[in-house]
Symmetry: C2
């Protein structure tokens, strides 16, 4: 087993040895469930000013980016999150030129956005440059996107960046992690107002809005906060095997265009592994218990 | 904490103590992932001729039925499985009178079937009477269904039962657990042929067909085996938070009626918590990576 020296040094609480095997554990305090992944090798570990960053290789998920002990994206199923946060808002807007993304230092959603030739500018705002560097080394070769002149990476606090870019963006993707640590302020009402003002008058934004199963308050608050600002707000669902309990939500907020009226012929799904034109509408169909979360106060 | 004496006696491998807390662990060897649930109390434990049966109370899922260490159904989200295995085959057939179910000793799907007044007979075939008894005591009060004269519970091996009931059934639900232990023979080609012969000429069957994420072979084999026998075979998806990685599949096999042509006005969804008329069609929309599983050999 390949294990770097820093493991014992840092005594990371999310790692544990069992019968001479290394496991990484993701604990959801709210539901008191833990998901443990057998680690074939801990490929990399470092501590940035913002968080602990590691890359592990696992049997079930391949390579995994782990931030502060929480798995964020894996090589085996990262396409699900990346495709579903990007294509839907992009096709909701009939002709987006300027696209921005807060978070998502692995640039997965940005690579999906690049498939749309009409897009002229793609900005990724990632607070933690070390996350970007680690992802480029271990997860996604940079050649895919460094050669695309439309793409720029900005290492800055997303809250500061969005206040400096009023009225410029056609599509914004808020690829925030859980509402703890550096991402916490991306869940405030003030931030939602900043997003509204960063968009053009026809702009569309999408937000990672949490698990509808074990964390109903994140979804409910996101939905209701956006309804106060945007005329069109819709939640859609996706199953992400890496995330606890699987079921996850995104919430789209739009000033003019309804995602249910999106022109599906615009969808660039030639080489996607998850999304297709039928999935777009189907993702907005909610089970009754999820509808109840949105309808309750 | 309320913990029955048999715990230490049996030294169940799926239970473990950590910092004076009891946890139950569900291990998926195929993907080398474990999901651990904090147990508030181990309410019941017994060993039947077929399996270990326990009922635990957990924070995240409420009461849970656990067979041989594998969580089967929970009070918090059991409605998802129960509604999705039952309503879809029932409305696929335009006028089902005789409905059978193999497995599912908790009778959840049978309770959904009872909502359809046209159904005249509902037989549940559960090999393990002790599972039924434990569920009646701890999970689902029997008053709901004992008063329904259409309902009968048969404690018998499903394979024997199905061979004795040729040509009788309009709808069959194969609520089998994983292809290990007593349920293994419910995954053989011979069993699929028995199901075909147990159905009327217009019959519809549905099968639990495994995780499309970490166990692609169960889904692929189920789908291809059924395609050899039935003219109409379709897989649909559901997210079950209790099951590892969340994403799960059911596969419907039909002699005459296509579930995509089902009369949605027949759906009895007045008090369902998951299913509604839009969900029926949306559940059959598959992400590309799941389509690829079905299309590959």
């Amino acid at each position: 087993m390949e294990v770097i020296a820093t493991l014992e040094e840092h005594a990371l609480k999310e790692y544990k040895w069992e019968d001479e095997e290394l496991w990484i554990s993701n604990y959801v305090a709210r539901a008191r469930i833990k998901t443990d992944y057998k680690v074939n090798s801990l490929l990399h570990h470092e501590v940035s000013p913002f968080q602990e960053i590691s890359i592990v290789d696992t049997k079930g998920f391949g390579r995994m980016l782990v931030l502060d002990g929480v798995p964020q994206v894996s090589s085996k199923e990262g396409f699900i999150y990346n495709e579903m946060i990007s294509h839907i808002p992009i096709i909701t807007h009939p002709d987006p030129k300027v696209v921005g993304m807060i978070g998502g230092g692995d640039c997965g959603p940005a690579r999906e956005a690049m498939k749309y030739s009409g897009i002229e500018k793609i900005s990724v705002v990632e607070i933690d440059q070390q996350v970007t560097d680690v992802c480029r080394t271990w997860l996604t070769p940079s050649s895919h996107y460094d050669s695309d002149k439309r793409f720029s990476m900005i290492h800055k606090d997303g809250v500061d960046w969005i206040q400096e870019n009023k009225g410029n963006y056609d599509v914004l993707m808020i690829d925030r992690s859980d509402p703890v640590g550096p991402a916490a302020k991306l869940f405030n009402q003030g931030f939602y107002k900043d997003v509204f003002e960063c968009l053009t008058d026809e702009g569309v934004a999408v937000f990672q809005s949490g698990s509808p199963f074990y964390n109903t308050s994140t979804l409910r608050k996101t939905y209701h906060s956006l309804c106060e600002l945007f005329p069109i707000v819709r939640t859609y669902l996706v199953t992400i095997p890496l995330f606890p309990c699987g079921l996850w939500s995104f919430t789209i907020a739009s000033k003019k265009f309804d995602p249910l009226d999106a022109d599906l012929s615009r969808l660039k799904a030639e080489d996607t592994k998850y999304i297709n034109s039928e999935i777009v509408y189907a993702s907005f169909v909610l089970p009754n218990y999820v509808k109840e979360i949105l309808e309750s106060n």
